[in-house]
Symmetry: C2
Subunit: 341 residues, 2 copies
DNA sequence: ATGGTTATTGGAACCGGTTCCATAATTTGA
DNA sequence: TCAAATTATGGAACCGGTTCCAATAACCAT
């Protein structure tokens, strides 16, 4: 209907007839096999070029039992932290001829399972998951199908799944200790939803542990994970009669941006009147006023490592090893040093 | 090597043997065909469940000649504007059982062509491209393979390609007219790289056209498309002996954030001392100090439309029609009204 | 009972590369 | 000069669902 032109279908067999060689030879040329005569290769390539042939990916995948596709299920693409992560993965995969298929779960475990199944059903050979907390059904599905998968953004997988990421609890603790070391013994912590988000929960656990050790007081404020959430939490904090502390720790930089704006709106100077610390090190953090002291998450390195691990598993049957990347505090100007005052 | 356990391979034929039905019937069940006895269906489904069978996507794709996969090539995933766009696409596609494969080009036309080919070679049935400006080789490739593709973020495709997006030039003009209508007749325009970015060029063209009509003066500042770029351009502008105007128009919100920070750093009040206008309407724009007056791009609607159009083309051979979405100015507090002063 | 449907199912052909095995051609070695 | 390699190539079998056509069974109205 679209193409009443050509001679039906253009496949290896047609190419074979055209060139006088066999399908086997055509295929060998297509795959850069060493066992083809230079001259033959040239002829075949010419024919391919002239005929405008492109190979059928499905047939190829069926015959080789490889799709060279890996899938990633992330809560959302709308947060730059995930986008950055996927960007790195994609870069790494592309270099080896792999494709990245993505799906979003909205942070829901059921949805994650569904989407993961769909990705596999559409050809994904390996999966990248977010966090360590997954549906039992998903785990069984992965085990049954012997599908390699990696938990990311955490450093400990669930139920035998390997993980590549950072130690959220340790980082939370580190952040609080840092603040305490600067004399802040009463910290307001703003964080996103804990439901369906083990990374946030782990960070909170770490913060609490750090507070206990350092003898600091902590107040938790849960809100939506966006600038608006950060701003409204800040407004709440500022409105409290009894000032709940001299520092605000945001478990995501987006929240910190909201706090920064809200502080500006109230004429509260950072860090003179209020110290602020973030988590992520987003693009703007180095340029805000004041520049934000935050924890730099190794998002890009994580993406690269995940991609490499998965490809190693698929291409060379190399077992995927859990990897803990470290993240350091980037000290800029948003936290005041209260010692000795 | 991995599985010395089972009885070799588990396919429809094995399932047929197990249940006593034929491969045809198994397939019919798998595809929810209406012509299967209720009872038969139940039995087959049970067997499938028990055996933990999952169908081979490649074989299915080969037989049906459909992969239900569409590909998107974007300059980068690291900018939230693209992430938001892809998020919307993914949501829409997922509802219809389609998968989204992504690739990044870094804004380079050669790379775009290469990546587009790879996506098709990996199974993409349709392509989503950014901007209207593409490699000739890519266009030929698409035409030769009769591969549906859509140019996005623009409202006019290249060489017959359909487009779904907004009118960058018109919006640039609209922005400048808006500023002029508020009494700003000397505007500094900060924008990202124009090389390999027709959208930015179109916006600039529009701005210049608007300036001519409104009798306003315009100064262009090109920089990198990030907060740092916005900040450094702002610093340059502030440093100019002769104040080049009372308003800064940023052709991307990220740049405006940099300007906002830099202004704060210099003690320049927005909008009292300087008016600022953006482009995109990112998450934070409604919450900054002052909230940013900007042009809200219909990113999500664009994503949804693109997905729908592509699926309509693939599932129902419906021709893709170029679509111009409109974007309006969101007036918040960052532009001062100079009239009558 | 009879011709004609309608509801189900069997099964082979097919989708289009890949790959292994056999064959043929050319070279190497002793 | 003959056997053993080495190099190229042909070709059929195969990957695993899908689908079309034929076949059987059950059902209907006259």
């Amino acid at each position: 209907m679209e193409e009443p032109s050509g001679t039906k279908k253009l496949g290896v067999r047609a190419l074979a007839k055209m060139t006088g060689y066999s399908t086997g030879t055509i295929s060998r040329v297509l795959n850069n096999s060493a066992l083809v005569n230079k001259d033959t290769r040239r002829q075949v390539l010419e024919a391919i070029e002239k005929a405008g042939y492109t190979r059928n990916p499905a047939a190829r995948a069926l015959a080789t039992q490889r799709t060279k596709t890996i899938g990633a299920v992330v809560p959302t693409l709308a947060h730059s932290i995930f986008a950055r992560f996927l960007n790195a993965i994609e870069q790494e995969l592309a270099g080896q001829g792999y494709a990245l298929v993505i799906a979003t779960s909205g942070g829901d475990a059921e949805a994650e399972e569904r989407r993961a199944r769909e990705l596999v059903d559409l050809g994904a050979e390996g999966l990248i998951l977010s966090g360590a907390e997954h549906n039992m059904a998903l785990l069984e599905f992965l085990a049954a199908g012997n599908i390699p998968a990696i938990c990311t953004s955490v450093c400990e997988g669930q139920d035998g799944l390997p993980a590549i990421g950072y130690d959220n609890a340790a980082l939370g603790e580190k952040a609080l200790r840092f603040l305490a070391s600067r004399g802040h013994d009463n910290v307001s912590v703003i964080h996103g939803p804990t439901e369906n988000n083990d990374r946030t929960r782990l960070r909170i656990d770490g913060v609490l542990a750090g507070a206990k050790e350092a003898g600091a007081e902590v107040h938790l404020f849960e809100t939506s994970l966006d600038v608006a959430g950060g701003a409204s939490s800040a407004a709440n904090i500022f409105a409290l009669k009894r000032q709940p502390g001299s520092a605000v720790l945001c478990l995501s930089d987006v929240l910190a941006l909201g706090v920064l704006f809200e502080a500006g709106r109230h004429g509260i100077a950072v860090p003179q009147d209020l110290s602020l610390m973030g988590f992520d090190d987003l693009d703007w953090a180095a340029h805000s006023v004041p520049p934000l002291t935050t924890i730099r998450l190794p998002t890009a390195r994580m993406g690269t490592s995940v991609a490499k691990a998965l490809m190693g598993r698929l291409d060379a049957a190399k077992e995927i090893e859990t990897l803990r990347l470290d993240a350091e505090i980037v000290e800029r100007g948003s936290v005041a040093d209260l010692r000795g005052r």
